[in-house]
């Protein structure tokens, strides 16, 4: 199972900062988050800056970025305002 880490409001919504989840890619991990923590958490996770093994999923294969059993997936709040 992959290690999933939450930051910011997503950590509040999920009630944890880290957990282990199944999922062969980012999309599958997002499905697990929605199933376990509800629609709001799922929606926020999808809008997050997602890192898979330290690389931005958006710059790899997006939601199809592979996630291995030893992977670490980070969900970081997107901070674009100034």
């Amino acid at each position: 199972m992959a290690t999933v880490r939450y930051h910011g409001r997503l950590a509040e919504l999920t009630g944890c900062r880290e957990e282990s989840l199944d999922g062969a890619n980012v999309s599958k991990v997002l499905d697990q988050i929605k199933k376990r923590h509800g629609a709001e958490a799922g929606k926020l996770a999808k809008r997050s800056h997602i890192l898979v093994d330290k690389r931005s999923a958006g710059a790899e294969k997006g939601f199809r970025t592979p996630v291995g059993v030893d992977s670490t997936v980070e969900f970081i709040p997107v901070c674009g305002g100034g």
């Binding site: 930051h7 409001r9 710059a59 997107v78 901070c79 100034g82």
Partner: protein
């Protein structure tokens, strides 16, 4: 340069008189003079950074005044870049501040960067961040990026060829969705950005290959390691 102005920081071992002269000889482009840019600019001006180029195409509006401490009620409707330059010049008359009332775009980014050793993205839109990122990459000028959303903020220091750039990190994200901004949070994140900027001007990147995350609700700072994307169209290895 009157060193008395900087007496309390020259005694910091990492700065000293040599570092102070280095700051005085530095030029920094700051894009955005708002909630992040304002406190950051005050910190850089106070520290004695010799030349500040402030680029912002907006005018001051009432909803800015909860967090944009460079501006006052009487500034409503005035160009932010011009007000910022005037106020910062009055704050530290020893430095040069150029206010440029333009939006940074792909077409003008290179020209605005002329003569600068460091750039700072304190702007509120992704296209400007990415345009600045590309222009800095082309000239190998380090870039500090900061952003906020509600209680949360992030800071990143880009050294092209060594650390991930903004195109590596922002691909596929939509950062301009919320618009939540509180002065207490923007001020904190701006101060973190300024601390990184001063250290980088002195030759040290304190957060290489890391995203510095600020959580103003939990009062916590975290560093999250991040790597370059091999397929990045701006800094990719391939």
């Amino acid at each position: 340069m009157d060193l008395e102005r900087y007496r309390r920081q020259v005694v910091i071992p990492e700065i000293g008189e040599e570092g102070q002269h280095k700051l005085a000889a530095s030029s920094v482009l700051v894009v955005g003079a708002g909630g992040l840019g304002g406190p950051l600019l005050y910190a850089l001006a106070g520290a004695g950074v010799g030349r500040l180029v402030v680029v912002d195409g907006d005018t001051v509006s009432l909803s800015n005044l909860n967090r944009q401490f460079l501006f006052e009620q009487d500034d409503l409707g005035r160009p932010k870049a011009e007000v910022a330059a005037r106020r910062l010049s009055a704050f530290n008359p020893e430095i040069t501040v150029e206010g440029i009332p333009l939006q940074l775009e792909e077409q003008n980014a290179a020209e605005l960067l002329a003569g600068c050793q460091l750039a700072v993205a304190a702007v509120d839109n992704l296209p400007a961040r990415l345009a600045l990122n590309a222009a800095c990459a082309g000239r190998n000028i380090p870039l500090i990026n900061g952003g906020v959303e509600g209680w949360y903020g992030s800071v990143q220091a880009v050294e092209f060829g060594k650390t991930p750039c903004l195109a590596c990190c922002y691909a596929g994200t939509d950062p301009e969705v919320g618009g939540q901004a509180l002065g207490a949070v923007t001020g904190t994140v701006a101060s973190l950005m300024a601390s990184v900027a001063i250290q980088m001007l002195l030759g040290h990147n304190p957060i290489p290959g890391e995203l510095l995350l600020y959580d103003g609700k939990r009062m916590a700072l975290e560093k999250v390691p991040v790597e370059r994307s091999p397929g990045c169209p701006v800094c990719g290895k391939g």
